[in-house]
Amino acid sequence: MECGVLLNMRRALQLFILLCLASQACAASHTLVLVVRADSKVSDLDSLTVRKLFLGLPVLVEGGLLHPVRNRSDAELDPIFLQQIVAMSQSAYDRQILIGVNRQGWLRPAEVSTVSRVLDILYDDPNAVTFMWLHEVAHNPRVRVIRVLWSD
């Protein structure tokens, strides 16, 4: 009887630890970070500059024009991009991009639909700036995390 109670407690403790680990893993997968190539000249970008960059406005760092890459590899990224990065609805964003091209010849951010393609662009272009889930880049020595953009 006593042994059974101890067994149940042990199982409950195991379950608790498992749940803690799972929630930690879950938290790690829901942290969105701004990333550049490891040797990029970009050291920091404030939220207003990040917004400008992804609205297509020119942003120069040490004379080099930054190239925004909109990561669309995960459906969860789109609402976070609109709410947290550019702070506008999809239709307002589309219109802003059209206005920028029409008035100033600004280039809209490249849109990429796979993680591997996002990483390829980062590896190739020292001026590329994108956003990715933290767990996708946590141990990648070829890219550098600039800042946390969003975390749940």
């Binding site: 239709s91 802003q96 029409n102 010849g105």
Partner: protein, 357 residues
Amino acid sequence: MRASRLLLLVFIILSPPGRADPLRYEFLLLPSAGVVGTFDRRAQITQTVDEVVQADLIFSLQKGPWKLFGEYLISDHEGDLERFQLGWQLSDETVLWIGRFHQPTSVWNHDHHHGQYLQTSITRPAIDEWEDLGGVLPQHFTGALLESGAKAFHSWWLRTALAGGIAPRITAEGMEPLDLLRPDSHRHQMGYQARASLHPDEITETGAGILLANDELTAVAPQPTELPGLDHVAVRLIGLFATYAGTTWKLNGAIYNVDTRLYYTGSHGKDSFIVGYAQAERRLPHNLTGYVRWEDSARAASSPYLQLFERFARSRRVAGLRWDFVQHQALTVQYANSLKIDGHYSDIRLQWSAAFF
């Protein structure tokens, strides 16, 4: 001459800041088609839309801080290289352009350019009409344009634009800007413009500003018959404008005071008139947008300068409804009543417009 220009372009693109960067580009197509019917005609010439079907092509090439930017308009009325600009991005906020551009003191044109999709109404205010559609102010210049922005008064944002370039000339057909693809050898004079505006932040359209321009327009053969012996006109403009861009409402307006000096062979004259407009747009359910515009003027009927432009409407009332029925496509219906110097008329228009990357 052309070879030296080409060499300059190659030098720029291969210069160290450009060489390190990949060539990137953008292409935007803004097509539109419309029909118009006029009625209640009490004027000799009732302006109807010349461009029933048009395609506005915008391209932008970028390599490092260098940009090559252009706009080509093809329609049943014309095929023109409207803008062609080589730009140097000096900083995040400052770009220097050389080439053919839309002058910055026309608020409407500098914001909307030729593409119909990005303007809510079908027509533009009469004071901002293009030269080849009976416009009274010069719009296309070939020269240099410096656009900049800076923080001001703590959190406000100051936008400025300074421009100088070869001005259009005046003929019996109206104004004719320099055509880069078919340059003429006629005498052209220069024009200079400045614009400054304050905005609550760097990205918003909401703001207010001031406009200044001093343009010299040469009269060439075929001479306008309305003002025989005209040699050239000096147009001095001062204006104010304001825009409120909210999520539901958009309000914008501008007022221009225009002073002109008309130089004839052996004499000269002068006049002055005021023109303004205000437009209100309201976003409605089901992707509908309703709008009204009121255009008016003072001393326009007695202006000798405006006699050169028989299609100019000195007063106009506009009301319309736009329906964005799918992404990047819209249908618009519009009613307008226009009062010209010699009478009035009304028109109804229906337009489809779109934007494609």
